[in-house]
């Protein structure tokens, strides 16, 4: 096994684009499938059957590829939001500073207008930021698992739903509901509203779990008395 000379992958993961990440993950998966196929062929499995079996044992290729890419991009989105918020705060501070300088007679009337414009723009930007989820809020994404609970304990309402590729979950009675991009609280309100016509009293709570693909099967035959 030889290491490529300084390919530069260490520490540069933040700079990779989503398409570059997807291509790398795909290459990684293809390598795994090639190894598995070869192993099965060596065990006597016919080549065409080996390919099918390798894919079966690997699981959901597309889903795993998306999950891998998201590991890297999720943090980047959060950092972008923090950066935007910081820029907005800085602009407001600059606006107020310029106004204060004007009152002291240091800046000209043109500066006041410029400061005012800056302040208005900054406040507008902050308003937009406030409407966005903060980094502490959970934003629902495709593949997340929503655990839905009802305040009144109605079992028909409670359950777990995975957000489908189109951003929707399937609710009892009501059908598909789009939840991707919502915060947890927004999803609670949307689901409660969707279910309200069908129940006398309903108030849902939602827990958001990131996709857990850690599936391990325990072979009970390996444990005596299991």
């Amino acid at each position: 096994m030889s290491w490529l000379p300084s390919s530069g992958l260490f520490g540069r993961s933040e700079t990779r684009s989503e398409s570059e990440l997807a291509a790398e993950v795909r290459a990684e998966i293809e390598h795994h499938l090639a190894c598995k196929t070869r192993e099965l062929i060596e065990q006597g499995v016919a080549p065409e059957d080996a390919v099918v079996e390798a894919l079966r044992r690997f699981g959901d290729v597309a889903g795993i590829e998306r999950a891998c890419v998201r590991v890297h991009t999720r943090e980047r989105i959060m950092l972008q939001r923090v950066h935007l918020a910081f820029t907005g705060i800085l602009l407001v501070a600059l606006g107020w500073l310029a106004q204060a300088n004007h009152r002291a007679g240091i800046v000209a009337a043109e500066a006041e207008k410029a400061a005012h414009d800056m302040k208005v723009n900054a406040l507008h930007m902050l308003g937009q930021i406030a409407a966005r989820p903060t980094s502490k809020e959970i934003v629902i994404e495709v593949g997340d698992e929503l655990e839905i609970l009802d305040r009144y304990g109605q079992q028909e309402v409670a359950g777990k739903q995975v957000v489908a590729a189109d951003g929707k979950i399937l609710l009892p009675d009501t059908g598909w509901l789009f939840v991707e991009g919502m915060t947890r609280e927004q999803a609670e309100q949307a689901i409660t509203a969707a279910l309200a016509p069908y129940f006398v009293e309903v108030q849902v709570y939602v827990r958001v779990h990131e996709p857990s693909l850690d599936l391990v099967t325990l072979d009970s035959t390996k444990f005596e008395g299991f």
Binding site: M1, S2, W3, L4, S7, L9, F10, S13, E24, V25, A27, E28, I29, E30, H31, H32, A34, C35, K36, R38, R57, F58, G59, D60, V61, I64, A67, C68, V71, H72, E75, P211, S212, L213, D214, L215, V216, T217, L218, D219, S220, T221, K222, F223
Partner: protein, 115 residues
């Protein structure tokens, strides 16, 4: 072969991966194989599920990755344990030992080693 799908404790897969990589660099396929071999076939990892975990560990800086050529003459991504990863592995092993021995004490027949 009969098998039952059981939930394992969250983070267990990370611990298994870190432990395998402590023995040396490996690509994902080898990590799967080693987990299965070391558990003597008892832990049957759904193979693809390893990769999001590997990428998560890479993001956290516990493993480092680099592309190289593998035994099947293809480009492969090799992972190895970083220095912070070794510290994390040691901490998780201690936690695991503490928890498993606590559970063992609870499961021990009543009256053994107690009042």
């Amino acid at each position: 072969m009969t098998s039952e799908r059981l939930e394992i404790l969250r983070g267990t897969l990370d611990l298994l991966i870190l432990k395998v990589l402590a023995a040396g660099q490996a690509h994902g396929y080898t990590v799967v194989r080693r987990i299965q071999e070391r558990s003597q076939g008892a832990l049957l990892l759904e193979e693809g599920t390893l990769y999001p975990a590997l990428h998560r560990l890479e993001r956290r800086g516990w493993v480092e990755a680099e592309w190289g050529s593998s035994e099947v003459n293809r480009r492969a991504k090799f992972y190895r344990l970083s220095r912070p990863g070794r510290r994390e592995l040691a901490a998780r092993e201690r936690d695991w030992e503490a928890m498993s021995s606590a559970i063992a004490r609870v499961l021990a027949p009543a009256g053994e080693g107690g009042a």
